[in-house]
Amino acid sequence: MNPRLSALPLSTWMNHLQGLRNAVEPRAERALALARARWLFRSVQSVGRNVAAYGSMSVQNEGTIQLGDRLTFVGGMMPSSLVCHPGARLSIGSDTQFNYGVSLEAWESVSIGERCMFASFVRVGDRDGHRTAPIVIDEDVWVAHGAIIMPGVRVGARSVVSAGSIVTQDVPPDSLAMGNPARNMSLELVARESGT
């Protein structure tokens, strides 16, 4: 054994190993997530580039699903689910992110814009028992934890749906939807330009 190498204290070696692990692990996770997404979305007609799934998911596609580039599906305590029924259409714009436990279900049409963020346990479904109506979510929308978007709703660009809200009517652009049933108020009323 090289005497110079063995002269280094053990802790230095451990630090090196830890550093190596920190450098390699995220890349390995990323590669696994890309491969997992490819497998999960094998029934999807159109999948963009660099779609990553960091956890298990359930995908049921009998209609047409269209996924944009660089989507991220985060894993967690509950798998997210994508369901598209026969004749229905589900499309998701590029750079949209999904936390765990998100449930998207299309009976007719669900369309999600670019750069949206969906927090954990968000539910978007265009049928609620007696009626079916398409849902449109424009770009840069943030839907916070546990919110539910009901059929026929359009959420305008850059709007925020706050945690636990149940959205039953359209949300204009640049608004904050809150409550059950949700009411909309201008984001200018509650938030400054940078940060809250």
Binding site: G76, M77, M78, R115, M117, S120, F121, D140, W142, A144, H145, G146, R158, V160, S162, A163, G164, S165, I166, D174, L176, M178, G179, N180, L187, V190, A191, R192, E193, S194, G195, T196
Partner: protein, 181 residues
């Protein structure tokens, strides 16, 4: 009947619970952990005595991020699917109960307007002694649920809730005010 003598199986249960809680900074006497508990993040998690974590239906998530702390008092009981996320501090008082799939977070993670990737400041979150939080309730940054208050299932809260009241709805309203005593 357990094939093992009762004291021995109890010892074993405690040992197993401690194994599941090995990532906590401190664990009090006689913890009970059923099912799965996820403890992650580089912050600190401290548990009081006789804490019960029942993660049989879904994992319980205690996520203290770098510099954050989650402190559970004595006799706290948490049901499955509950998720506590601390960037700064979450404190749960003695005897408090957190229902299934409730979400407790001291940071919104994203600003409402402007650059969504900037992180807004955290606001410490306090749940005082004897509080009951219903299932699927959401406690947002700045929540301070005072002694003996009850949060109905599915309620969304982001500010102080006075002692011994029951709040519910979204936005939250006081449903019932108990006479002190």
């Amino acid at each position: 009947m357990s094939p093992l003598p009762v004291p021995l199986s109890r010892e074993l249960g405690t040992l197993l619970s401690r194994l599941k809680l090995r990532r906590c900074r401190a664990v009090g006497d006689a913890p009970t952990v059923l099912g799965r508990v996820w403890i992650h993040g580089s912050g600190e998690v401290r548990l009081g005595h006789r804490v019960v974590l029942d993660g049989r239906t879904a994992p319980i998530e205690l996520h203290a991020m770098k510099g954050g702390s989650i402190i559970l008092g004595d006799d706290v009981a948490i049901e499955g699917g509950a998720s506590l996320e601390a960037l700064q501090s979450i404190t749960v008082g003695a005897g408090a109960k957190l229902g299934a799939f409730c979400k407790v977070m001291d940071n919104q993670h994203h600003p409402l307007r402007g650059n969504r990737h900037e992180r807004p400041p955290s606001v410490p979150l306090v749940i005082e002694d004897g509080v009951t939080v219903g299932s699927r309730a959401i406690l947002l940054p700045g929540s301070h649920v005072q002694q003996g208050a009850t949060v109905a299932p599915g309620t969304v809260i982001s500010r102080r809730i006075p002692p011994r009241v029951t709040v519910g709805g979204s936005p939250a309203r006081v449903l019932r005010r108990e006479v002190a005593g």
